[in-house]
């Protein structure tokens, strides 16, 4: 969620967020306002994942939207993933699927694993560990990052005494 919000903060175009209507959590635009201007956000409420994918494909292909975020519950099969990938290429749009753990699609360019980290004593900490676990065109890596609310900017944090990603985070 933090990852998606931080990605949304890049650029200035419209964002389409597709989620299924049955979800009990709601997006809170006041909270998202820490990351980006909520007026940039459009929100499509769909009934089934098929609809979600159809809407996502349409939006990705069109190119009028900067970023399409899809919240998925079921794993994508090869055909669906490939179609989304082709649509994103056709429209030069970024698509971001928020997936449950271990349900990634083979078609994805990159896959990230993001988890919040316990803070280091500063209260407004938004420390997160972003691990790039799949990358079709580069190397993998792990970064500890912190979102700076005031500057609306991402800071990469190196914990003292360790290189980023060298040691597992204390749980």
């Amino acid at each position: 969620m933090g990852f998606a919000a931080a990605i949304c903060a890049q650029g200035a175009g419209q964002i389409l967020w597709i989620r299924e209507a049955w979800r009990s959590e709601t997006l809170n635009p006041t909270g998202l306002g820490l990351f980006f201007d909520p007026h940039r956000l459009l929100w499509a409420s769909v009934t089934t994942q098929t609809d979600a994918l159809a809407v996502a494909e349409e939006a990705l292909k069109d190119g009028a939207i900067l970023l399409v975020v899809i919240e998925l519950t079921n794993a994508l099969d090869l055909r669906e993933g490939r179609r989304l990938q082709l649509a994103a290429k056709a429209g030069q749009t970024t698509g971001l699927c928020l997936i449950p753990e271990g349900m990634g699609s083979n078609a994805a360019e990159t896959r990230w694993y993001c988890a919040p980290l316990a803070g280091d004593g500063r209260m407004d900490s938004t420390l997160m560990r972003w691990a790039l676990i799949k990358n079709k065109s580069g190397t993998l890596g792990t970064w500890d990052v912190r979102w700076d609310h005031a500057a609306r900017r991402l800071d990469v944090v190196s914990p003292a005494g360790e290189r980023p990603g060298s040691a597992p985070a204390p749980d």
């Binding site: 006041t30 306002g33 909520p38 190119g63 407004d124």
Partner: protein, 484 residues
């Protein structure tokens, strides 16, 4: 033009009956005769008679319920038809039309020929009509209603003077009172001294007299014709391919958009009806994210709907109608920054396309609302009917995800050191707060019946940052949101 049997003629046109016929209307809790045909009138029936009495007089009376609204529509249709004689056509009460034929009578070969043409056409259509022609609107009314013949064209002041005073469009009591005074005809009334008449009957009587004689002007108000946004295309041979149908739709859209442009309007909802050879028809409805009238933008949006339509044995007629219209002023290109914000037209087209799949209301945007209650701090509005307006103010950090409060175990005013939430156990590493939010007493919200809430931003050793609150008035701890 006076149609004395408009309602029954309308019904009998659809279903001719060679028998006494009457339309009944329920008034004052009684079925009464609303309108009847000539055969029924010969049997001694009259308007306003209770229907039960009429049945007793005339056992073989056919009847049907009256529909005044349909009669009014029928009259409106006749009014449109009557504009073939002159452009200036208005309604006269519920069963008449008034035409100002000044300057158009010679097109039909003179006044008499014109009246003859009107009478012949209306009679052929099965309508009973009484026509009256006069120098004034009042005189024409008098000749139509009291002229004695079906077509009354000869109109001078003497002829008008011989008519009874009832021909002046007066109320029944006034007419009776005038007749008791011996003023039986219009000429009598015109010759009578004016002051006593006015003193006795008010100004209405003499106003009607002056209107009939032409001393007072009286206008005819023609109805304004609302522009009609429907176009159709009839094909000599049925078509079935999507490409052909889209080509046909392209022609229709162009014609419709030209009409919309003339009237500075834009279509919001379009309905394409495809009539098939077997008389079935299919409708493709297109709801647009904004009012538009650009054929090049509208046409591609039809592709999905047309592709899904079943052509059957072929489509031989297409009809495109803009069912919902919004005013859309012409917009200057380029010079002024677009009011639509980033994306502009392309974004609206995309919303429309998405809307055809999931419903236009389901593409939404957030608008700021003026409330401290976290779940009411924003409004959700359909993107197609709202603009991104208003400023977002953020006084304190709020979680990007909100859910319904989920209870956790905990006591006391400070966040619990350890707690379980969603089958996970957490240890509190740090907690900031409290931030007290009081319920809005002017709105009764079930979730806020527990009174004020003290919100805490809790950072757990496990990493997740939660938004907890404590309700001091009904002790309990809840989780309501998660920070990114």
């Amino acid at each position: 033009m006076w149609f004395p049997r408009l309602a029954s003629d309308r019904v009998l046109r659809l279903r001719p009956i060679e028998a006494p016929f009457a339309l009944t209307l329920r008034r004052n809790n009684t079925e009464r005769i609303h309108c009847l045909n000539a055969r029924a009138e010969e049997m001694g029936l009259h308007r306003g008679m209770p229907f039960a009495d009429a049945r007793a007089f005339c056992p073989d009376l056919h009847s049907a319920p009256a529909h005044p609204a349909r009669d009014a529509r029928f009259l409106a249709m006749l009014r449109r038809w009557a504009t073939r004689y002159c452009p200036w056509v208005g309604f006269e009460a519920e069963d008449g039309l008034v035409l100002d034929i000044t300057g158009s009578a010679h097109l039909f070969g003179g006044e008499t020929a014109m009246l003859g043409d009107m009478h012949a056409r209306l009679t052929r259509a099965g309508l009973t009509v009484r026509l009256g022609l006069g120098a004034t609107r009042g005189a024409a009314w008098a000749f139509a209603h009291f002229g004695g013949t079906a077509v009354h064209a000869g109109a001078d002041r003497d002829a008008l003077g011989r008519l009874p005073v009832a021909a002046l469009r007066l109320e029944a009591e006034t007419v009776t009172a005038l007749e008791r005074l011996g003023l039986r005809t219009i000429a009598d009334l015109a010759a009578a001294p004016r002051a006593p008449v006015t003193r006795r009957f008010g100004p209405g009587v003499l106003m009607r007299l002056d209107q009939a004689l032409g001393a007072l002007p009286e206008q005819i108000t023609p109805e304004t014709e609302p522009p009609h946004y429907g176009v159709r295309l009839t094909l000599p041979e049925p078509i079935g391919l999507v490409g052909d149908v889209m080509a046909g739709a392209g022609r229709l859209v162009e014609r419709l958009c030209a009409r919309l442009k003339e009237n500075a309007a834009g279509a919001r909802v379009l309905c394409l009806t495809l009539r098939r050879v077997d008389q079935a028809s299919q409708q493709v409805e297109l709801r647009l994210a904004s009012a538009m009238r650009d054929p090049a933008r509208i046409l591609p949006l039809f592709e999905r709907g047309v592709g899904a339509a079943d052509a059957g044995f072929g489509i031989d007629q297409m009809r495109l109608e803009a069912t919902v219209i919004e005013p859309l002023a012409p917009e200057q290109l380029g010079a002024v920054p677009s009011r639509k914000g980033a994306g502009g037209d392309r974004l609206e087209d995309l919303i429309t396309r998405i809307g055809t799949r999931i419903g236009l209301e389901n593409v939404r945007r957030f608008l700021p609302a003026d409330s401290h209650i976290p779940e009411r701090g924003f409004l959700v509005a359909p993107a197609a009917w709202s603009r991104p307006e208003g400023a977002w103010t953020l006084l304190r950090p709020r979680p990007p995800i909100l859910f319904r409060p989920e209870p956790i175990a905990g006591t006391g005013p400070r966040p619990p050191g350890q707690f379980r939430w969603r089958r996970m156990s957490f240890e509190t590493a740090m907690a900031t707060g409290p931030e007290r939010i009081a319920p809005e007493w002017w709105l009764d919200d079930e979730g806020w019946r527990t009174g004020v809430r003290d919100y805490w931003h809790v950072q757990t050793r496990q990493g997740r940052r939660l938004w907890l609150f404590h309700t001091p008035q009904a002790p309990g701890w809840f989780v309501q949101g998660e920070f990114a």
